[in-house]
């Protein structure tokens, strides 16, 4: 597939999908674009926000628009790993252990309030996310393709939570916040019909096969030497910056690259611009960086933005 010729067409399709989602999630176009980017880049999405801002709706709408299976797991403190991945049960009739797949065997998994469950269960999910398979009793079972986890998390200040450790946050390609809708959007929200019902009526715009093709197309987006230099400069300056205890890992660099490509494709380009990197960087980098103790009072997103401002294009 030649990207250059099809870039515009792809953009139109994706924009259409974005618009479709935008009918449900009002006034959150940027978050929708980021979520689409994450999906295109083949990574998993972590949404961190207060309950009730539309995290679940976003995941549901995404699944619907791409015609993907959707399952939801509400993570609670008593949820066990097997409740997510599945369990082998002895079947008396066949005298064998039979594997009962857990909810993870789906194309879009909404892991709601992931920080409410124990680290054990969290890591079971994250391992599956990383390896795209579930290993139970020595047998590996591949997860369906595409496989997209949207995890939501309440801000960690809330009581009774197990915040995800830094090493596991890294498994999420992006972390976004949705935030309250603005006045206009909120008004429409209140005037509108039932969301769930609307979602069910949404058309499927991109089928799963097309999504896989798009994910491949992301790989073909061109990056010039100048852009790579810029990317490297960003990563390097994150490591040198006094604001962070440690800078971006090489894996984070790869994630940033992938997201920038997906963002470029989403905007109908066959090449990455510095703007693409800048747009996705806060979502990609913020949850991978540790604020230095001396700058505890600063907001991490704000620091990332300041970092971007410091690095010359």
């Amino acid at each position: 597939m030649n990207i250059s010729n099809q870039a515009t067409q792809i953009r139109d399709t994706l924009q259409q999908a974005g618009n479709s989602i935008g009918q449900i999630i009002l006034g959150k176009r940027r978050q929708i674009d980021l979520a689409l980017t994450c999906l295109l880049a083949g990574g998993h999405l972590l949404i961190e926000d207060l309950p009730g801002v539309g995290k679940t709706t976003l995941a549901l709408t995404l699944a619907r628009t791409f015609g993907l299976d959707f399952r939801r797991v509400q993570f609670t403190s008593d949820l066990l790993p097997a409740d997510v991945t599945g369990i082998s049960i002895y079947d008396a009739t066949s005298q064998q252990f039979k594997f009962h797949p857990g909810p993870i065997f789906t194309q879009v998994l909404l892991a709601d309030e992931i920080n409410r469950t124990t680290p054990k269960t969290q890591s079971a999910l994250l391992e599956a996310m990383e390896e795209n398979q579930v290993t139970q009793d020595g047998i590996s079972r591949a997860l369906p393709k595409p496989f997209f986890v949207v995890a939501t998390q309440n801000p960690s200040e809330q009581i009774g939570t197990f915040p995800l450790p830094e090493s596991q946050l890294d498994r999420f390609l992006m972390r976004i916040e949705i935030g309250y809708p603005d006045q206009q959007a909120e008004r429409e929200l209140l005037l509108g019909r039932d969301r769930r019902q609307q979602i069910a009526q949404l058309p499927v715009i991109i089928n799963p096969q097309n999504l896989l093709a798009l994910q491949k197309a992301v790989e073909e987006i061109h990056e010039s030497k100048a852009l790579l230099d810029y990317l490297l400069a960003l990563i390097r300056s994150s490591r040198l910056s006094p604001w962070f205890s440690s800078g971006l890992s090489p894996r984070a660099g790869l994630a940033l690259q992938k997201c920038a490509r997906a963002w470029a494709l989403l905007h109908g380009r066959d090449h990455v611009l510095p703007e693409d990197v800048q747009q996705v960087m806060p979502s990609v980098a913020a949850h991978r960086l540790q604020i230095h103790p001396d700058h505890q009072q600063d907001n991490i997103d704000e620091l990332v933005r300041r970092l971007i401002m410091q690095v010359p294009v």
Binding site: H222, E223, S224, K225, A226, L227, D270, H271, V272, L273, P274, E275, Q278, I308, M309, Q310, V311, P312, V313
Partner: protein
């Protein structure tokens, strides 16, 4: 092995050994043979010590070696003072010091002293190759300094070489300014012990058979002559330097001089006007065309019509003269001259003396005797050759005249003078040069050692002292053209003559012309030339204090210029033409209120710029598009670049505030 070599070449010690070797190299041919061998040994040991530290010698042994070397120097030179001995000893001690050097501090001292060694070489030679060699050596020394002070930067060889070359090249203009303006004073500040045997080639103060033939082997320039008008014909170019009166049967000498006044010279015709640039020959005689009208200022003009300076000529010496080619020395023969000019050593060369006496009885006229003698040389089977057979024994002139009959100018001049004296005609031998070669490139006549010549002067009653050149009778080509044409075809010629094919000859003329300039303007640049130059520039005398002030000002100015030109801070270089254009575009917009933030991408910037200049949106978008195509899509084409250029040029910046 290769790895080992490269590790050695990275060691700082290597970077001291290398320049030291280069500095010492030109001295080697002048040193007694054991010194180069010793130094080779010392350097090899030090080089080996880089990878094998056990080879570092104990201080005690170095001290012993130093004492031995000093003794050896005294034994060879008879002193440790003086140019040759002092230099030799210094070089040896430096090589010994190298052996115990291990710290940067020691290395720096050695490098500083290297500069001193370089300059000692200039006491012996100051030609252009030496200067070029010096420049190369200084580059290597600067490289060494860079290497010693790079820390752990591990700069590669090319970087260091480039830096050193750049530094030296930039120093040259400063050097020239200082060279020209530094106030020159004449005369030595103190006298150094002179070396008797400094061994320059040139005329000696005596003449024995074979002396000149040996001198001919050298092609070195003795002096150069610029004629103001036309050059006289070749056979008139007799450059006199010495007059030899005394003969002991084999060797002619100047002998004791007398204090008689110089006879008057009666010149005929227009005198020849010329300037001589004399190479330092460490003797006090000056050369002049027969016969100079008067001596240049500060030079003694003696009764043999010879020019004598007060000091030996140690530096290039330039003087102007007028000479009469047709002259008459009108006077009575003094008693001293008569006795000295007729003196024949007793009991030597009896056959020759007898022949002379026989001629006296045969002819009644002095001139007839002279002509007869020349005829004899011309008609009998005398041969003019560079390789005369040796004439040992007590009677060399007899042996030459009657047996071998093969000789060079000194044989003919000497035997002719003896024959004349035997015939009762006062005669003397004159030593000097004859001829010279005009360089067609700059019309300067250069007289070389190979032009060395001996001829005779006889006193004839009506005419006074008259020049007679017996060589001209045997081989007229020698005086009319040059030595080469006078020699027989099968004669073995000196190397330089064999190599003298036309291409080489041509090159040599050019080289000689350059060399002449160099000698005159660089080596000969002294107080006289400096004042001359200042007068030409400012049209008045320039005092030393003014000169010093000018020196300071000029050096300061040139240094600042160089600093500004070479070290002025440049913005990071941009090689990509599109990027350059884009930066230019950003610059222009910045001047009109839309400055691009360093972190602003091109699309963001374009949209911001288009907000302020809506009418230019199209152009801005196009420029941005071309830029993005080139920088982020890696697609560049020349016509796009040109288009971008014209778009930028035609942007209309008047903000349309609607």
């Amino acid at each position: 092995m290769n790895q080992r070599l490269s590790s050695i070449s990275r060691d700082p010690a290597f970077w001291v050994i290398l320049p030291l070797t280069l500095v010492i190299l030109p001295h080697l041919p002048r040193l007694p043979l054991w010194m180069p061998i010793l130094m080779l040994l010392l350097f090899a040991v030090r080089l080996g010590a880089i990878s094998e530290p056990r080879l570092i010698l104990h201080k005690f042994w170095l001290f012993v070696i130093a004492v031995l070397v000093s003794i050896g120097t005294i034994m060879h030179y008879g002193t440790i003072f003086g140019k040759a001995a002092g230099t030799a000893l210094l070089i040896c001690l430096l090589a010994i010091k190298l052996l115990e050097s291990r710290s940067t501090r020691d290395y720096m001292l050695l490098i500083a002293l290297s500069f001193f060694i370089i300059v000692t070489n200039f006491l012996f030679t100051q030609n252009i190759p030496t200067a070029v060699y010096m420049l190369c050596t200084v580059v290597v020394l600067v490289m060494s300094l860079i290497t010693l002070h790079q820390g752990d930067a591990a700069l590669d060889l090319r970087w260091r070489l480039q830096a050193a070359v750049k530094l030296v090249a930039l120093s040259i203009p400063l050097m020239l300014v200082m060279f020209v303006l530094f106030p020159r004073i004449s005369g030595p500040l103190w006298h150094m012990p002179d070396d008797a045997g400094s061994g320059r080639t040139g005329l000696g103060e005596t003449m024995s058979p074979g002396d000149i033939a040996q001198l001919i082997q050298s092609n070195e320039v003795a002096f150069r002559v610029e004629f103001t008008d036309n050059k006289p014909s070749q056979d008139q170019l007799y450059w006199r330097a010495l007059v030899l009166w005394y003969f002991d049967g084999r060797t002619w000498e100047q002998g004791k001089q007398n204090e008689n006044p110089r006879p008057t010279l009666e010149g005929h015709g227009q005198p020849v006007d010329y300037t001589i640039t004399l190479e330092p020959h460490e003797k006090n005689w000056l050369f002049a065309l027969d016969m100079p009208e008067q001596a240049p200022p500060g030079v003694h003009y003696n009764n043999n019509f010879l020019l004598r300076s007060r000091e030996p000529i140690n530096t290039l010496y330039r003087y102007s003269l007028k000479s009469f080619l047709n002259y008459r020395i009108e006077y009575q023969l003094s008693r001293w001259e008569k006795s000295a000019g007729l003196k024949i050593p007793p009991d030597s060369n009896p056959r020759s003396v007898q022949l002379g006496q026989q001629w006296r009885t045969q002819f009644n006229h002095d001139e007839a005797i002279v002509n007869h003698a020349l005829q004899q040389f011309n008609q009998q089977d005398y041969v003019y050759t560079l390789q005369p057979p040796p004439t040992p024994g007590a009677h060399p002139v007899d042996a030459f005249l009657f047996n071998t009959r093969r000789g060079f100018c000194e044989h003919y001049a000497g035997s002719f003078t003896l024959l004349m004296r035997a015939a009762g005609i006062p005669a003397r031998v004159v030593l000097g040069y004859q001829g010279g070669m005009i360089n067609p490139v700059n019309q300067v006549l250069s007289v070389r050692q190979s032009d060395a010549h001996a001829w005779a002067e006889v006193w004839l009653p009506e005419r006074g002292w008259v020049r007679v050149d017996p060589t001209a009778a045997i081989a007229p080509q020698r005086v009319e053209r040059n030595l080469d044409s006078a020699l027989a075809a099968d004669e073995i010629r000196p190397l330089y003559m064999q190599l003298d094919n036309s291409v080489l000859k041509h090159l040599r003329f050019y080289w000689d012309a350059v060399d002449n300039r160099w000698k005159q303007w660089v080596i000969g640049y002294g107080p006289k030339l400096q004042q001359q130059l200042m007068r030409a520039l400012f049209n008045r005398e320039i005092h030393y204090s003014e000169l010093t002030f000018m020196l300071m000002a000029a050096v300061g100015f040139v240094a600042l210029m160089i600093a500004w030109l070479s070290f002025k801070s440049r913005a990071p270089k941009e090689t990509d033409p599109v990027q350059k254009l884009y930066l230019q575009f950003c610059d222009r917009l910045a001047k009109r209120g839309v400055a691009r933030n360093i972190s602003e991408g091109p699309v963001d910037f374009a949209s911001r710029a288009a907000q302020l200049y809506p009418s230019q949106q199209h152009a801005i978008d196009l420029i941005t598009k071309i830029y993005i195509n080139s920088r982020y899509r890696s697609r560049t084409s020349t016509d796009q670049t040109e288009k971008m250029q014209s778009l930028i040029r035609n942007l209309n910046y008047s903000p349309d505030k609607s």
